[in-house]
Symmetry: C2
């Protein structure tokens, strides 16, 4: 099977739906998808796109559509009541987690915090408490994510993704083919199996 890159940001509810579907796919196919942390806000800025959740007409529909899609795939879901989530620290943390070998657990925990438990991840106190529950030392973690190299790393990955054509999340890249949206996963799997 070809490598599947999954570009995501914890702030993106459709990325969460993709993540849940990918977990099933990985289990059934004994295959590991490559998680690619990016900053969705940065991508939108580079591509000159207003996030759907920030346009009143689209946001109203999106919340209903997410629920319908989640129910269809039997995925637990609750639209975060503190939306939009500012995830720059969380996504910098994803890079730390990747370097230290626990990206998948980290991603799983934060997706659940954002889109099942509806935690206010914009509040640093709640974020610190949540990190403690993950057995991550909050002050050490904050020190790591404030390292300029980590900041630059997230920025560079975001720019690199945009240059590859990524303009939103979730996006999947298989070889030279790009797919956008959790509703395109069938096409992603088919491409990877070609």
């Amino acid at each position: 099977m070809k490598k599947i890159e999954f570009y995501f940001d914890i702030s993106s509810p459709y990325s969460y739906l993709a993540h849940e579907q990918i977990k099933l796919f990985e289990k059934n196919n004994k295959f590991s998808v490559t998680y690619m942390p990016i900053l969705l806000g940065g991508i939108h800025q580079l591509a000159n796109i207003t996030a759907p959740g920030l346009n009143p007409s689209r946001a109203k529909h999106m919340i209903k559509d997410l629920k319908i899609c989640a129910d269809w795939y039997k995925i637990k879901f609750q639209f975060n009541r503190y939306f939009p989530l500012k995830t720059i620290n969380i996504m910098r943390g994803a890079i730390v987690a990747e370097k230290e070998g626990f990206l998948k657990n980290y991603t799983e925990s934060f997706f659940k915090a954002a889109w099942v438990d509806s935690l206010n991840l914009n509040d640093n106190k709640i974020l610190e408490k949540f990190l403690k529950n993950l057995d991550i030392n909050p002050s050490k973690f904050l020190e790591k994510i404030n390292n300029q190299k980590i900041k630059d790393d997230l920025k560079n990955r975001t720019t690199a993704a945009y240059k590859k054509g990524v303009f939103g999340a979730p996006t999947f890249i298989v070889g030279s083919k790009m797919f956008f949206g959790q509703d395109r996963l069938e096409f992603v799997y088919r491409e990877a199996k070609k």
Copy 2:
């Protein structure tokens, strides 16, 4: 089965993909979907949305995604080389066609002209020739679509759709539920059959 409203504009390639899928559904279920002509440009203006086809990053991906979706559903498709299509006259004509009882044939012909035969529908000479082939007298047709009542009718329908929550095309309304995108038709059918 509940009434299914299908909001469309000939300028929208995803509306064409929906139209082709709906034709199969109608045939298999002996059921008629209600076609609702609107002006997509007007909807986007009201909702403060940039059409995906007018954003370079999104447009580049959209053309590939349309091809993948069309192939998946075995629908003939060619991205119109004269995109974006200015369809205000064509959509005013759809209202005339509806009033005179040939909306489905009219829609079918224009979707095919736009998204299979890649005609330059922005060119009035090509449009006139195409109307003649449809056994429509071009000068009579132009007179009808320039009637203020027809102009107002399209404008009012577009505003009414926006007020119902429509922000793009294709959109489907079944009772109080709204669905956006040709990739949501499974949900539309399920809702209609409830």
